[in-house]
Amino acid sequence: MKIAEFMTTRIEYIDADKSVYDAVEILVDRRKRSVVVRNAPGKDDYGIVTARDVVFKVLAKGLNPKDVKLSEIASGPLICMSPDTEFDEIALIMEKNKIARVYVCEKGEILGLVSLLDLMSAELIMRARGENVS
């Protein structure tokens, strides 16, 4: 099963010069686990901020999220995969790099993302179909 078939298409974006607090609002309001940070306007240069980053890099250190810019805590670059990649390959990549999501990209454009939950769901579907699952 190709990842394009079961990716999450709704991606939230935010500019790098915004504060961590702005990102937190998006995470809470839109019930997301990550936000893509646009490092440079108009360029295909992205980072990512997750709830984990907010907690460990800002809140746990007692810093004020309104005072910290996203460019200071964003991780990058995004790990991008082609839409024709099989889910089995993604599982290995995520396990090897200890990451919770990969992005589906084509010609520099982000089409969607595949999270651990998407991966789990896809594997269960393949099992139900009787397809060989690694």
Binding site: E5, F6, T9, S121, L124, I125, R127, A128, R129, G130
Partner: protein, 209 residues
């Protein structure tokens, strides 16, 4: 009746199972045709969906008449007919949205999401067929019903995004807007109805154990 049952070796029941499988196969074909029609903007394929719906209707009538001619024990008949009627609702919905598509083109802004939902609808209808075949063979259908729920949940996620995107789509008049809203609503409702069909299968499965 007694002698008929003794010597028929379940022929009527096998016919019903075969017909229901055919019904669901037609549904999968209709979902696939719809999806390709949507992706390629092919009006002919969209019109083909209505033809497949008519074939589906014919098969449904055959199934119900075979059931009430004496296939299966009476306690199962109502639920089997109920299942077939739910599948028919999906056909109806598909035909309606195919007609809406022919009347009103899809805005580019929501095209990709709609195609994604159409693909998921095709996949969930294929899963319904696998679930029915497994149930009639007496296999465990738990994994398959979970797969259907996963697909339905995925469509729900895309539905909320679609509704948000729709708010930014300009419409010329009320009726065009209404048709677009009905199209999106119908497209995202198909997986819900198929989930209901799977629940009906689960009930039949429990009753026969």
């Amino acid at each position: 009746m007694f002698l008929e049952k003794l010597f028929s070796h379940g022929k009527k029941e096998r016919e019903v199972i075969h017909d229901i499988s055919r019904h669901i196969e037609l549904l999968s074909a209709a979902c696939k045709t719809f999806r390709h029609g949507l992706e390629k903007h092919d009006r002919n394929l969209m019109q083909e969906v209505a033809t497949l719906e008519r074939y589906g209707d014919a098969v449904r009538r055959e199934v119900i008449s075979h059931i009430y001619e004496g296939a299966f024990l009476p306690y199962l008949r109502t639920d089997l007919c109920g299942f077939v009627e739910i599948v028919d609702q999906v056909f109806e919905m598909l035909k309606d949205i195919a007609t809406l598509f022919l009347r009103s083109p899809l805005p580019e802004k929501i095209e990709r999401q709609c195609c994604m939902v159409a693909l998921l609808n095709q996949r969930v209808s294929e899963m319904l067929l696998l679930t029915f075949k497994a149930m009639s063979n007496g296999e465990d259908i738990r994994e398959k019903t979970l797969a259907v729920r996963i697909y339905e949940k995925k469509v729900d996620d895309i539905k909320y995004d679609l509704l948000e995107s729709l708010q930014d789509v300009p419409v010329d008049n009320f009726w065009k807007g209404r048709m677009l809203a009905d199209f999106v609503s119908g497209l995202t409702r198909i997986s819900d109805i198929i989930e209901d069909a799977t629940d009906a299968l689960q009930i039949i499965n429990v009753m026969t154990r």
